[in-house]
Symmetry: C2
Subunit: 300 residues, 2 copies
C-alpha cells in the first residue's frame, strides 16, 4: 500500500530545487530551516524556552496523558545547521507517542565552534539533568542525523567519566563519523536524495577543523568501544548513503554485548520519520521507537 507513498516522497525530493551557487553558512542554515519547517508540529504539546547547561533548550510537554521520564533530544544538521526548532515536528511526535516530556537542546555548531564543542555541550546538558535530580534511568537520549552521533557520544562520555548512563539511546539515521567509508556510500549513491559522499566529506572536514578523526569522540561509529553502553535503537532508511553508519554502529554494540535493535525501512531517505504526515512507515517507525523508549525509561 505504501509503495506509492515511498515513491511519492522520492518524487517530492527530486523536485526540491538545489541552488547552483555555493552558499555561505547563514544561507545554508536558512535553507535548512525553511526545508524543515515544511514538517508540521502536531497539536497536543506545549513548548517553553528554557536554559540548560548555559545553552538554550526547548521543553516540549504533552498537554495530556503525561508519564514520567525525559527525552533529551539532539537535532540534526551536519554538525553545522539546525536548532531545536528544525527537529520540532519529530520531537513533538515522540512526545505524543511516549507521553514523556522532551528537552531539545541547542548545542554549539561548526564552523564557529567545531568539534569537540558540541560533544561537550551535549554531555553537559545530560549531566545537568542529573544534577537537577533526574535519575539516569529516567532519561532517554534521542537524536537524528548528526544529533544521533551526539546521543552516542553523550552516553560514551557518561560511561568514560563514571557518570550513570541513560536508560537508553535512540538514533534516527545517525551520521557519526566525519571521515566515513562504507559500502552504502557506493551502493546508495544514486538513490540518496539528500547527500553525496563529497558533501559528507566536506561537512566532516568543517566539523573537525583539523582535529584528529581517529578518536572515539570524533568517530564514534568506527572507533567507539561500546562496552557498558545502554540499550540502543537505531532506525535508518534503506536509500541512505549513511545506511552503513547504522549497520556498523549496531555491529559494534552487538560485539560489546549491548542490547541493540537495527530497524531498517527500505526505499526511504535520511530521517524518513519526519515524513510522518505523508508516509505510513514513518508513523510505524515512531511507534516502535516510542515503545522502545517507554520500555527502558523507568516509571518510578
Amino acid at each position: 500500500m505504501s509503495a506509492e507513498q515511498r515513491q511519492g516522497i522520492r518524487q517530492m525530493l527530486a523536485r526540491t530545487p538545489t541552488g547552483s551557487e555555493p552558499k555561505n553558512i547563514e544561507e545554508q542554515r536558512e535553507g535548512f530551516a525553511t526545508m524543515m519547517s515544511a514538517f508540521q508540529v502536531p497539536a497536543g504539546v506545549t513548548r517553553t524556552d528554557i536554559e540548560l547547561a548555559g545553552r538554550r533548550a526547548v521543553l516540549v510537554e504533552p498537554v495530556r496523558d503525561a508519564r514520567p521520564g525525559t527525552m533529551l533530544y539532539f537535532h540534526g544538521g551536519s554538525f553545522a545547521l539546525g536548532s531545536p526548532e528544525t527537529a520540532m515536528s519529530l520531537t513533538a511526535h515522540l512526545v505524543l507517542r511516549t507521553g514523556m516530556r522532551a528537552i531539545s537542546f541547542d548545542y554549539r555548531l561548526a564552523p564557529e565552534d567545531p568539534f569537540p564543542a558540541g560533544v561537550k555541550d551535549c554531555f553537559a546538558a545530560y549531566r545537568e539533568l542529573l544534577e537537577q535530580g533526574n535519575t539516569a534511568e529516567s532519561i532517554a537520549v534521542v537524536g537524528d542525523s548528526a544529533g544521533g552521533a551526539m546521543s552516542v557520544t553523550t552516553a560514551l562520555s557518561a560511561r568514560n567519566q563514571g557518570v550513570p548512563v541513560p536508560a537508553c539511546v535512540v538514533c534516527f539515521s545517525p551520521g557519526g563519523d566525519p571521515m566515513r567509508s562504507g559500502g552504502s556510500l557506493v551502493s546508495r549513491r544514486d538513490r540518496d536524495p539528500f547527500f553525496t559522499p563529497e558533501a559528507l566529506q566536506a561537512s566532516g572536514e568543517r566539523y573537525l577543523a583539523g582535529a584528529n578523526p581517529d578518536t572515539e569522540m570524533a568517530s564514534p561509529i568506527s572507533r567507539a568501544d561500546m562496552s557498558g553502553f545502554p540499550p540502543l535503537l537505531v532506525q535508518v532508511g534503506g536509500d541512505e548513503i549513511l545506511l552503513d553508519d547504522s549497520v556498523h554502529l549496531t555491529e559494534r554494540a552487538r560485539e560489546a554485548d549491548v542490547d541493540v535493535v537495527l530497524d531498517v525501512t527500505a526505499g526511504v531517505p535520511h530521517v524518513f520519520q519526519a515524513f510522518v504526515d505523508h508516509l505510513d512507515e514513518a508513523g510505524l517507525a515512531l511507534d516502535r521507537a516510542a515503545l522502545f523508549i517507554t520500555q527502558h525509561v523507568a516509571r518510578g
Copy 2:
C-alpha cells in the same frame, strides 16, 4: 536490574543435566518435550486441535480482546524434535499480546521425513489458510529456531510460486542453514548453553539426509534471494552460536530492499523469549514482536 535475571538463567541452564549416553530420536523428543513443558502456558487462551493441509495443528485463541488476523506458528526443535505443544507457552504469550489467533502447525520431522518434507508442509499450511479465505495481508508467519527457518522458506515459497506473501515474518533465533558457518560459532561457543557447532552439524546432516545444502530452500540464510520478501523481524540472543544466522539473514534482507529489524538482546540464550516468567527482557522482546505483528497485519 535484570543483569541478575540474565545470570540466573545462565545458572539454571548450567545445572541442566545432559546425559552422557547418546539418545535415540524418541528419547531426544521426550527430553525436549519435558524441557519445554517447564515453560507455563498462560491463562487467557483456548486451544483446539484442528487439521490443516492434512496435518494436525492447534488453534490458539484469546478468550477476550480478540482482533482480526492469524499467526501461523512453526515450532522449533532442530527439524527433528518438538510439536505445537512444545512451543505453546511462546505461542500463547503472542496470542495474548496481539489479540490475534495463532495456528501452530505440526510439520513433518527428520529423520523419518527429512528435507524438504517440512518445508513443503509449512508452505501447504500457509496456502490452505489462503484457500480458506484468509487474505495474505491478514497472516503473520512466525517461528522459533528451526521453525524460524520454516517461516522464511514459507514466504520464499509463496514468492517463488506467485502466491501472495504474508503480511510479515517474525523469527525468534532462526536456525536456517544446516551447514552453517559464521563468527558466532566461535565467539559464542563458550557461552551458548544449548548448542555446540558439532551438534548443529549433526542435526543439519540428519535434516538434509544427503540432499544438496547449496539451495535456497535448504539454506535460506546463506542462499536465499530475499527480493519481494515481506517485512521481517528477527530477534536473537547475544549468547547464541546461532547469532550470526540472524545477522546474515537480516543482511540479505537489507540488501534486497526489505523492511527488516534485527533485535538482539545481550547475555541471553537461544529463544530467550521462552523465559518470559523469569526474565524481564523476554517480555519486552515479545511486546516488541507483538507491536511489529499488529503493525503489519491488516485490520480489515
